[in-house]
Amino acid sequence: MELICPAGTPAAYREALEAGADAIYCGFADETNARNFPGLNFSRKEMAQAIELGRARGVRSFIAINTFMRAGDERIWYDAVDDAVALGADAVILADTGLMAYTAEKHPAQRLHVSVQAAASNPEAIAFLAEGFGAKRVVLPRVLTLDEVAALTRKSACETEVFVFGGLCVMAEGRCSLSSYATGKSPNMDGVCSPASHVRYRNDGDTLVSELGAYTINRFGPGEAAGYPTLCKGRFHIAEAEGYAFEDPVSLDILDQIDVLRAAGVKALKIEGRQRGKAYVAAVVSTIRKALAAPPQERAGLVASLRNLSEGQKTTSGAYEKRWR
């Protein structure tokens, strides 16, 4: 199985390269990708250099152009695809079917992957994308159990790629407007979820309060591990009780299930985290690379060290484990 690694900056790209990535995914520094954060991502020149660097080492570069084209400004997205192709991207990762149609028509030889943001969660949806636009691989949404991943991979019209470590979307990806409801900025249109421009951390005595727009998302007591105020990982008040309504501030980790994924025929394992620093990329990629080569009984020990890098310093197997639902 291929190990697909994140890079938000050229420095992180180099770390991923050194740490043993098979392929590295990155995006241009604008709203065409779903990690459109300040100071992050690649200029065209940086992307060209990264692709060249990767190619010299036999590592492929995927370019995520996985937001939805803003009406009237489609050119920005078309240009991103044209440039990705010209720069020699080994795959473009797309979410908008309109953009997929453009890519399939204009660049029929370009390898097209379906972003998790396209929310293809069943064989028919995948068939629609594979037949319609020649998609070669689909990144599966984090709403499936391992059994469902296995069943879906067997019926899939193209290769499947599965998230194994990193940030966890609780909601079906690409179908969530929680962020724009609270801030006016959305993952689908602006490439941001719970954007930093609307985040405020406030100290209320020893309590750290995180706010998103006009809403309190969490309060962390003294010494309690904190989290970013992502809406779906906030603490709320429901029916007389307080708690994490959707999910705790945790990260996804299903590295103990690698053999199940391999047996299911999953083609690639994906690490989330383009917005994380290069130290994170280096640690996570090298550890997972080691774990992939290690016998199953040694894996848990190897990956345990990654927990400290995780949001809330806790991990979950998320939807992959049926009880999570």
Binding site: G39, V199, S310
Partner: protein, 165 residues
């Protein structure tokens, strides 16, 4: 990892100029060596970033695009868009991208306040810049380069834990 209270007491009586001079020199050295840092910061480069080491009697306010830096005594009000607090050497390690900013934030070792977007931009810009303070400062030190490199490396060795070295 905190500096000892003795260091705090030792530094407290220093005149501000004695701290500000070298700090400004270091800032210019870093910006000269890493021009891409300002590109990544974009408009956030004009913002005032206050660094408040818990274990030093000073605070540092940096305006990257203006290559500006001012030092204030601890507790004296300062105008800033962003405030980042934590142990001095943790802040330095963050500047060098040796540790993961999110991780030390989640674990409450550093705290941030103010313009979160500017903080994120700074973090990403620093992270890509591959800062290496001994080398960067030495490059700016002319004939004193070996001395600066040696000194800075020695300090770093003393304070960084094995994982962050």
């Amino acid at each position: 990892m905190d500096l000892s209270p003795a260091v705090f007491r030792l530094l407290a009586p220093l005149p501000l100029a004695a701290v500000e001079g070298p700090a400004r020199w270091a800032l210019r050295a870093v910006l000269d060596r890493h021009p891409a840092l300002l590109d990544r910061l974009g408009a956030h480069g004009e913002k005032r970033f206050a660094f408040l080491p818990d274990d030093l009697p000073f605070s540092f306010v940096v305006t990257p695009a203006r290559r500006g830096l001012s030092v204030k005594r601890r507790g004296i009000a300062r105008r800033a868009d962003v405030e980042i607090s934590g142990p001095f050497f943790l802040l330095l390690a963050l500047l060098e991208g040796r540790i993961d900013g999110d991780a030390v934030f989640f674990s409450r070792q550093i705290t941030v306040a103010g313009d979160t977007e500017a903080i994120v931009a700074l973090r990403n810009a620093m992270d890509d810049s591959t800062l290496d303070l001994p080398t960067d400062l030495a490059a700016h030190a002319g004939p004193f380069a070996p001395l600066v490199r040696h000194g800075a490396s020695a300090i770093r060795r003393r304070v960084l834990t094995p994982e962050t070295r």
